[in-house]
């Protein structure tokens, strides 16, 4: 449980730190709603949460064989059916 808290705190601090650095380098007009014409970086292929769904699905096949936990990987739900 302590390790879990350390992981989550580390992740949270990293996010806050990087976001703060990002906001400092952007103009004041970046606050508030980001318009669709201003989402060039966000829509870039390498910025997608899952840039390669097939690679993710195959990773889940490997994890499903070796690890006891299930789900939470942002890929297709319901398992891979690969018992």
């Amino acid at each position: 449980m302590i390790r879990m808290l350390i992981v989550l705190v580390t992740l949270g601090v990293s996010i806050v730190g990087v976001t703060a650095a990002d906001l400092q380098t952007t103009s004041s007009s970046d606050s508030g709603t980001i318009q669709f014409f201003d989402k060039g970086y966000l829509n870039d292929p390498i910025m997608q949460f899952e840039s390669d769904p097939l690679r993710s699905a195959l990773d889940q096949h490997i994890f499903g064989i070796r690890e006891g936990s299930i789900g939470g990987y942002d890929s297709a739900g319901g398992s891979c059916g690969c018992n």
């Binding site: 449980m1 390790r3 879990m4 992981v7 989550l8 580390t10 992740l11 990293s14 996010i15 990087v18 976001t19 990002d22 906001l23 952007t26 970046d30 709603t33 980001i34 669709f36 201003d38 989402k39 060039g40 970086y41 966000l42 870039d44 292929p45 390498i46 910025m47 997608q48 949460f49 840039s51 390669d52 097939l54 690679r55 195959l58 990773d59 096949h61 490997i62 499903g64 064989i65 070796r66 690890e67 006891g68 936990s69 299930i70 789900g71 939470g72 990987y73 942002d74 297709a76 739900g77 319901g78 398992s79 891979c80 059916g81 690969c82 018992n83």
Partner: protein, 383 residues
């Protein structure tokens, strides 16, 4: 050979389809996985995606995967594994190393699995999308049928997207083959089901960063089993087959943070925590950097750390296990795992359209003496 056969058939289908639809996408993936315990997996996948209309997209996929494995002989204690669906015998007695002993290793065998899937995504409005999908996975001793529905829609403006969905899985598990010395018999009904519920929340933080939260809960019911069941000879020469509770519930919470870096790179940070009714607690943390090495070349590296506690009924011996449940499968044991992955993807022109070729190498090490490498080659093209 089978992948070549599938490739040929799919190219013929594409030629006929191109005149009908405007946007089509075809992808081929091949994965080869080997580990130090002589488990060898090959997987090939073909995916075809096309626009049925300006608001509707269909994806069809078909794949084969084969698992070739053998136990690595009689060993002391309860180490060793066979990825065969057959129960295998592990002896506690070092004298049983004699290959003429009745406790000899199972032979190397190959199991082949076919998988197929169909999904249709429809955009009802900007940022409002629904996806219906069906998938099936078939091998002679285990079949799965999965149906799901998800929908995403904006809340509180276009920068926050809520997603909800659910899946239902039906597993048909044919009884295992056991040796003549194993007295335990599987139940008459060896089927199981899984209900999965998913919720997600995406939020744009700035022009260069975004965040996603994901929650996934599941409930399994029926004859539950791990992928590779084991028969253990206990210290008093009795035999114990893995027995899992007939119900399992679990919840995974994860967070993904993506940040555009400098001029041509992206950072992805992922954290996940998990808990289930087997008393398995797990969490993982991984970091990935993707970068444009050239206008048409992307490289990425990823590091992942994973740790889990064991199931409450995991043990080296069946003796004194709570409620009669028992497993000594490594996947339900306590361990830490480390993974390093590197990949590269290059855009190419292929069959008159824009496409890409990608290659990935991944190394995974778990401190229960499992370590293995994965090499995946993939070909993608878009017409």
């Amino acid at each position: 050979m089978q992948l070549v056969g599938v490739f040929t058939i799919l190219i013929m289908a594409f030629v006929m389809a191109k005149q009908i639809f405007a946007e089509q996408y075809i992808a081929f993936k091949s994965l080869n996985f080997k580990d130090s315990k002589k488990i060898d997996i090959w997987e090939g996948l073909v995916l075809y995606k096309t626009d049925l209309s300006t608001h509707t997209q269909m994806t069809v996929q078909y794949g084969l995967d084969s698992v070739t494995s053998a136990s690595f002989g009689v060993v002391s204690g309860v180490s060793g594994a066979s990825a065969s669906a057959s129960a295998i015998r592990i002896s506690d007695d070092e004298e049983d190393d004699d290959e003429d002993s009745e406790y000899t290793a199972s032979e190397r065998s190959t199991k082949t699995r076919q998988q197929a899937g169909l999904s249709i995504t429809h955009a009802f409005a900007p940022d409002v999308k629904g996806t219906s999908s069906v998938r099936m996975s078939y091998k002679t001793d285990y079949q799965s049928y999965i149906a799901g529905q998800t929908i995403t829609f904006p809340i509180a403006g276009p920068n926050t997207i809520l997603g909800v969905g659910g899946y239902y899985t039906q597993n048909n598990n044919n009884p295992l083959v056991t040796t003549t010395n194993v007295q335990l018999e599987p139940p008459s009904d060896t089927d199981s089901t899984r209900v999965t519920v998913i919720g997600s929340l995406e939020h744009v933080l700035s022009r260069k960063s975004k965040l996603k939260f994901l929650a996934e809960g599941f409930e399994d019911k029926g004859y539950l089993s791990t992928g590779y069941q084991r028969v253990t000879i206990t210290s008093d020469d009795s035999e114990a087959l893995e027995v899992l509770p007939s119900t399992r519930t679990g919840l995974a919470l994860s967070m993904i943070y993506s940040q555009w870096l400098f001029d041509s790179a992206a950072l992805h940070l992922r954290g996940r925590v998990y808990q289930d009714s087997y008393d398995i607690n797990a969490y993982s943390l991984d970091a990935q950097i993707m970068k444009y090495l050239a206008e048409d070349l992307v490289g990425d590296v990823r590091l992942r750390y994973y740790t889990q506690s064991s199931a409450s009924f995991f043990g080296e011996s069946f003796v004194n296990m709570p409620d009669g449940f028992f497993t000594n499968h490594p996947a339900l044991s306590q361990f830490n795992a480390y993974q390093a992955t590197a990949g590269i993807k290059k855009e190419v022109e292929w069959f008159g359209g824009d496409g890409a070729i990608s290659a990935v190498v991944s190394f995974y090490y778990a401190d229960l003496d499992y370590n293995f490498g994965t090499l995946m080659l993939g070909y993608e093209t878009t017409f």
